[in-house]
Symmetry: C2
Subunit: 209 residues, 2 copies
DNA sequence: GTCTATATCTCGATAGAC
DNA sequence: GTCTATCGAGATATAGAC
């Protein structure tokens, strides 16, 4: 997740540990709720070192978010490039996206909290200036599929929103969904496959020409 | 939203104003991020009055959440009871659910933040003891539609999750989605209808027998 | 680079006058 | 019921020794 960033290997061990711990804590509690002491404890270092390496809480937050956004965009591109039919690409996207989130549920929390605050940082990172690589790539993918007749005419943005929501909700709402079926929270191979299959079938038939 | 609760009319004006302001602030920032001072300012009363009426921040939070959960369950039942074909009920649910959230986006924030913290309060409110009226009613509705052959065999819980996510994401991600199409954030009649139509068509074809 | 000690600030909560 | 003033906990951030 964080390791995807180009500069990751050039970081010191302390910096890596801090970024990792910060992702966990910011994802859990958001920017205001997270505590520097908790991040330091989780990273196994002294609280003062956080400020030594990353000046302030805000700077640290921005650094974490930047890397997560970068990773998100890379994984979308990888999934799309790995297959060549619409159906297979759809499955690859669902699978990659869901697995990434299951292995690091805090990423969803980070994204959600950022949006609830109006997404000031994410908007800057994904803004038109920077091209919004990942999302735009998704939109083009849907547009192309419509143009080439692989799926029925559909508003690409509407479907992209639905697609993202159907995966993201699985992580967000888990504490409540698992009251209906506790196995879901395990997040094992069986559960992931069931979720991917369900979404793939639903969307595939829902988009058929 | 808050007015649905049976006891609402028996509250004083101050209490109503506090609950309303608290919903906004808790939805924006979550339980830890919200500030009692901000809630007081928004309600137009003194900070000390918050504690006079609702003892503590936690108590106030629980009171707000209780009312929102209650309202959610009532609106689901109303939508299902208002129509009698699966297709019409699906549309009524999408419409009611989306409109409720558009008029009060903070409700989504409240629910999301609660879940990111493991949903301790919501789990108690929706737990098996209390019957989880709303969600269970949704699950039964899908089960029945399968049994009666109106839709293909589908895991009711999986579809319920997808359904909720496809609506909720629209509010959560709006700060980012509106960078691609600013009109979306207006939330006018046109945008709501477009979203409902998109989801209705997608799910209707995705679930056809 | 690392850690202790501490300054500074903000927030939830309460006391007590009216 | 309402408001001012304030306490005390806990947070970010920094100073300064090593």
């Amino acid at each position: 997740m964080l390791t995807d960033h180009p500069s990751y290997t050039s970081l010191s061990d302390a910096e890596k540990a801090i970024l990792d711990a910060a992702l966990t804590e910011f994802g859990r509690a958001g920017l205001p709720g997270a505590r520097m002491q908790d991040i330091a404890d989780r990273a196994g270092i002294n609280k003062a070192m956080l400020h030594y390496y990353f000046r302030s809480k805000d700077k640290l937050y921005e650094e974490v978010l930047t890397r997560v956004v970068e990773s998100f965009m890379t994984s979308i591109e990888a999934a799309l490039d790995s297959e060549d039919t619409f159906s297979a690409q759809l499955r690859a996207l669902l699978d990659a996206y869901l697995r990434a989130h299951m292995s690091r549920p805090e990423v969803v929390g980070l994204w959600v909290n950022e949006n609830l605050n109006g997404a000031p940082v994410a908007r800057r990172l994904l803004g038109p200036e920077r091209g919004a690589r990942g999302p735009r790539r998704l939109l083009c993918w849907i547009e192309d599929a419509v143009r080439e007749g692989h799926i029925r005419p559909v508003d690409p943005l509407q479907f992209m929103i639905t697609f993202l929501g159907s995966v993201v909700i699985y992580m967000i709402g888990m504490p409540m969904f698992s009251t209906f079926r506790p196995e879901l929270a395990r997040g094992g191979e069986e559960e992931i496959r069931a979720r991917v299959d369900h979404l793939h079938t639903l969307f595939y038939h829902g988009l058929k020409p």
